[in-house]
Symmetry: C2
Subunit: 292 residues, 2 copies
């Protein structure tokens, strides 16, 4: 199973032993947790990790605990050989690829869950109950298995990043949480493993998501400060596109995820839509200067 | 604030820096979390820690998150100088005393909680909703602050020990959980910081707790295998003592905390009573051989 310029393992003890030898040598360790089916967005996080630590651990695990019973766990895209090729192409490479089985992460009985309140309930948390409980729990496990100095997550999943930052802070995990910027296609579509599900027509329709978020950001840049106006704009514009169903769209505080009425500070514009059967999320962040 | 043969600190960074220098020297680290007002039970755990690791960290923190709104948080006994004297008398001593303030452990906003299901709901969890959520959360924080190789808890709090074992296993905390046996007065009363609240009369009445648990254990040793019979015995005998109110009494599996009907395997007999205004808990464990 080797033949790659990194350690590849499905085993917790092997991860611990590699990491502890690195730590003993005084080397910094970065973790990039992923669900696989990698794209340039993930690779940009690996490069960020590479720049921040001597050793880079990537995990690929499609986490059943963060999927609802009617969600796309079984059809989530998987292609390990493609993932390996992409990782092999990253300058500087990676040091360890952790590929745990679901039975290793959730042996029976599994009885523990981490709840992060406040940041988890709105946006994706509103439509995916239990999703962030699953995210927080698996990330805590990965932190305890890998014991990284820094862990890197994409800003594309802005609410997930806020949940993980809150958990790491509240539970005193000795790990720095770094966020990497969203990577987009030339036409604006945010990279996502789920884009592979889009037909050519859906792919065109999906552009409404980034286009509308950018337009809302432009309204704020031009001086709009009323959260309701921005929300209404997002909620009217997105479902007007043929083939698109709105799940949510909101203007929230980028740290607390609380809906904003007067826009100020760090504002996150976030939305989820269905294009055909495919659920897509995207967000943009804008810093609104204090009013004079 | 020094003048003790250990590092004493209220500061997380000081703990981390001491521990990381020990770890760098290859030394094993043990943690003994306490709520202070130490007694021989705690000291026996410190000795156990001492025997298991080169470095012993003791924490004293009366954890508000594990007290209900109508419980005795404000009148929980505290006497730091007495605690220091007792720790100074332990052979081999301790290496670090961590004395965090509540604002350090729970800065506002605090939004994260760890739920351990299955083992948390019965016994103390039934009468103290949220208690074990508070225990699991603060213990996870202490694990992340101290990063011990081994953590020592008393078997006196048998359900707490089960909750912590379950959490540590499920979340892959890289720490071994060790349980230390209950320490008793010559007449059987289990040591507890709350014993200080007992009047002389209450102190005599409190003996019903250990006496009845021992008697139930004797019934099992003599061949009794029916859980209901043991439960009935406990639930009739305990409140028959003047001044005593029964909170719960049960015969459960010592690992899962599930009530047992046929007694087999590792059986925990556990009870909580009020003697006057003071709540006391106790338990005994008995291994029931497989039936032939």
């Amino acid at each position: 199973m080797q033949g790659f310029p990194w350690i590849e393992t499905t085993n917790i003890q092997e991860v611990r032993s590699a990491v502890s030898s690195w730590r003993f040598a005084g080397e910094r360790i970065a973790l990039v947790p992923t669900m696989g089916y990698l794209h340039e967005g993930h690779l940009s996080l690996v490069r960020l990790a590479r720049a921040r630590a001597r050793r880079v651990v990537v995990s690929i695990f499609v986490n059943p605990m963060q999927f609802g019973p009617s969600e796309d766990l079984s059809r989530y895209p998987r292609d390990l050989n493609r993932d390996r090729d992409l990782l092999a192409g990253v300058e500087g490479g990676i040091d360890l690829l952790f590929l745990p089985a679901a039975e290793l992460i959730y042996p029976e009985p599994f009885q523990t869950a981490i709840e992060v309140s406040g940041v988890s309930e709105g946006l994706c948390g509103g439509s995916r109950p239990g999703h962030f409980r699953g995210v927080a729990t698996v990330v805590a496990k990965l932190f305890n298995i890998v014991l990284p100095d820094v862990a890197v997550f994409g800003q594309k999943d802005a609410q997930q990043l806020a949940v993980i930052r809150t958990m790491a802070r509240d539970l005193d995990f000795p790990v720095e949480i770094a966020g990497g910027p969203t990577v987009r296609e030339a036409d604006g579509l945010a990279l996502s493993s789920r884009n592979t599900f889009l037909s050519a027509e859906n792919r065109r329709q999906a552009l409404v998501l980034s286009r509308t978020l950018f337009a809302a950001r432009d309204l704020i840049s031009a001086g709009q400060r009323d959260g309701e106006t921005i929300r209404r704009f997002l909620r009217e514009t997105l479902p007007a596109e043929p083939g698109v169903k709105l799940e949510y769209a909101d203007a929230v505080d980028a740290e607390s995820m609380a809906p904003l009425f007067r826009l100020r500070g760090s504002v996150l514009l976030a939305a989820a839509i269905f294009v055909g059967a495919t659920r897509l999320i995207d967000n943009v962040r804008i810093d609104v200067p204090a009013e004079s």
